[in-house]
Amino acid sequence: MAHVWGMILKRLALGVVTLFVVSILIFMATELLPGDFAQEILGQSATPETVKALREQLGLDQPLLTRYLSWLGDILRGDLGNSLANGNSVSELIGKRLGNTLYLALYAAAIAVPLSLTLGILAALYRNTFFDRFANAAALTSISFPEFFVAYILIFWLAGAGGIFPSMSNFRTDPTLSEFLYRAFLPALTLTLVVTAHMMRMTRAAIINLLASPYIEMARLKGMSPIRVIVKHALPNALAPIINVIALNLAYLITGVVVVEVVFVYPGLGQLMVDSVSARDMPVVQGVALVFAGAYVLLNLTADVLATLSNPRLVHGR
């Protein structure tokens, strides 16, 4: 086990380096966008004097490197800084939105992961039957439509006048769990439909790959039932690729759902990022980018650790 801990530590250190590189890339990329914060926030009402005054007040007239280093210095002290636009603390802004985003991601994952595993296993079990083809076709159809289209279809069927679910999530501060589950059901369902196909097909493919192996044939020859062969013998060996795909999809649920947020009026991190980029509100952009990058790093790490743990040969070393 010791080397698993070693791997985790090493990967965490690498993760910090990744975050550092990401912060430089995002800073440079935002800098490359035309216009700066002072121009964007004043928009049509900008005059040369007000733009100049705003730049001076916020230190935007400083050279690029100075601004980056001062931001980095604050970060190392654990301070994400304040939004240029309204002076709100970035950590507070992100904290609230991150909570919302994580709840929605968890909600969607809690439906999508068991659903796609079950469907994948069943599809492998009944491969090439009508069920297999139907599950595949349905999953591929829902992933092929753009998210907003899936969202509108669900609203059309399940919300609107006389519908069962609300068409927008819009809850007041601190909803109860049942209120949350009810109001966030449609966005969670949309996301489920979008991510299920990938996970289900990977489960099916990974299991079918193994079904040709001699040890599976042995199990079958012993007279084991097909479902037992798959769940007890094939699935444990197929876990590594499945875990990886699940991790990637979870990362997507955290970072890539701005369209769903907009359609269902769900206040998550995505809209915060979009607004901040279009206003060039650098501290917020950097903060959100770090959260997104951090989510990828951590989920990938978790996937690798779980994949390692699922393989006894790797756990016990040589």
């Binding site: 009402s45 009026v265 206003a279 509100d281």
Partner: protein, 522 residues
């Protein structure tokens, strides 16, 4: 309309019922919707869906620019003056005012007994501090140019004496600008731009920029016949379909903006009224009058006759608008020149003006993005089609929405723009047409126009003033650098549980952005 029923001896109840039915039939009424309704009554929670709003909004009044913040401004704050639904100026925190003969020195009498949400009572120092926030070298306020003429402000008991550098007969109008709310002064004579205090009808209970704001009624509000709702929830809903769905499914009672492409479907939904208000909002295509070929007025005239305005109103606005005549004054305004000939699509005239300019044909680029106004790129394509008949090859360059106002507008010689309009002729002209002002988007300078602008501003004789403004509209229309093909209506929608006065203000969206204190649940 109720007068007709009354003369036939129908009971008061009958009048109201009849009027409501008529009102429902006349859901779309140009130039200020008029509906008769029962008397206002108190109570209820108004839920409003807003199309614009951003997590980068801020409490600083100098930064307000989208409808969410402007609505919030009028819900939370009061101003010195108010523009009434009929477009006239009425007192708000200033009980009254008088000007010196040259319209340079203005004395405003501040209302007694006005309380802020915090309990602070309004004094003259608050007014001075609030206006000072937008003045001075370090000010980053978008309202800086409109208060630039103030040279001095003095408190005299409950009076504030304001001295201007130049006479301005419309100065009290300026004080109704949404950037200029009256906030409490601090000990050092400044306002705190991050305060949520105000002396308006509702106080802020909860505020999340770009997401929502919750308000409850300010118990000590001085206007007794306003602010009928108990609570207000303001929710930002960017997506058109989501916003309209929210209204149809009863999640909100009012939406500030409806999608012009689907508004006919919304109209069919039961219990939904569409509110269409034609005011001063206009869309334009400014040309840089310093740059060739636009420096030649004949070229500008050719382009003005090469655009099919009716087609623009019909397709880009789906009929929710009116024809523009290349000047920014709307038909509802005090000094609108109704004698000016309305320009129409005339390719022969366009060819004639090209010939006058010594050209057989003309090839120009126009730089557009939908950030300029909704449908701008489509408008460019339509323009390009109609212009080709006049021998003009107009090439539409699609620009990104992102950064449009800093990289394209006033940077490229021919682009798109929109204006919410201004309540007075002088204000609009002084903002975007006077020589050398920062928002003169056509870099236009016209000697006679600039003279008229200055003389009309301090002219107290209304007849003379009218003549001068009429001439200025003619000059801008025929010699100015901007094509203004259309005036766009403000189109919103609301549940028929809501009631409002007969006249809905046309100076801004949302009943002059004062819906929170003017409307009620019927």
């Amino acid at each position: 309309m109720s007068a007709d029923y009354g003369s036939r001896g129908i009971s008061r109840r009958g009048i109201l019922k009849g009027a409501t039915a008529l009102g429902a039939a006349a859901m779309i009424a140009p130039l200020g919707a008029t509906r008769a309704r029962a008397m206002p009554k108190k109570g209820g929670t108004l839920r409003v869906g807003m199309a614009h709003g951003s997590t980068t909004d801020s409490l600083d009044p100098g930064s307000w620019e989208n409808d969410t913040m402007i609505f919030q401004a009028h819900t939370r704050n009061n101003y010195m003056t108010e523009i009434a639904p009929d477009g006239s100026l009425i007192p708000e925190l200033a009980e009254g005012w008088e000007a010196s003969a040259d319209a340079k020195t203005w004395t405003f009498k501040i209302r007694d007994g006005v309380s802020f949400h915090s309990g602070h009572m309004l004094v003259a120092a608050d007014v001075i501090a609030s206006l000072n926030h937008h003045r001075g070298e370090d000010s980053t306020s978008a309202a800086k140019p409109i208060v630039a003429d103030i040279v001095d402000m003095q408190a005299d008991g409950m009076n504030v004496v304001i001295t201007l550098a130049n006479g301005n007969a419309d100065f009290p109008f300026v004080l109704s600008d949404y950037h200029l709310p009256i906030l409490p002064a601090q000990a050092d004579g400044t306002i705190d731009p991050t305060t949520t205090d105000g002396c308006g009808p509702y106080k802020i209970d909860n505020l999340e920029f770009g997401v929502r704001a919750d308000y409850s009624r300010h118990d000590g509000y001085w206007k007794k016949d306003r602010a009928h709702f108990d609570k207000i929830e303001q929710i930002v809903i960017y997506d058109n379909a989501a916003r309209q769905n929210a209204l149809i499914s009863g999640e909100v009672d009012y939406i500030d903006s409806a999608d012009l492409n689907t508004v006919h479907l919304l109209k069919r939904a039961p219990g939904i009224n569409v509110l269409s208000i034609t005011g001063t909002q206009h869309y334009g295509l400014p040309m840089d009058t310093r740059a060739a070929p636009f420096s030649d007025n004949n070229v500008r005239q050719a382009l003005k006759y090469a655009i099919d305005r009716q087609q623009m109103v019909d397709t880009i606005l789906n009929g929710y608008g009116s024809l523009g005549n290349d000047h920014p004054i709307g038909p509802g305004q005090r000094f609108f020149n109704s004698d000016l000939e309305q320009k129409s699509y005339d390719p022969d005239k366009a060819k004639f003006y090209l010939k006058e300019a010594g050209l057989d044909s003309l090839a120009v680029d126009i730089h557009l993005a939908d950030a300029a106004f909704s449908g701008a790129t489509d408008a460019g394509i339509l323009f390009s089609e109609s212009a080709s008949a006049g021998g003009i090859n107009l090439n539409v360059v699609r620009e990104p929405n992102d950064g449009y106002w800093s990289n394209v507008w006033m940077q490229k010689p021919f682009a798109g723009t929109y204006w919410g309009g201004r309540p007075t002729e002088d204000w609009m002209f002084a903002t975007a047409y006077a020589e050398g002002v920062p928002w003169n988007e056509t870099y236009w300078s016209h000697t006679r126009f600039n003279e008229l602008l200055v003389s009309a501003r301090s002219e107290l004789d209304e007849g003379l003033r009218r003549e001068q403004y009429h001439e200025m509209q003619a000059i801008v229309s025929n010699e100015g650098g901007i094509i203004i093909p259309m005036f766009a209506s403000y189109v919103g929608a609301y549940s028929d549980a809501l009631g409002h006065d007969e006249t809905v203000a046309s100076n801004w969206r949302n009943d002059g952005q004062r819906l929170a204190e003017r409307w009620w649940f019927a």
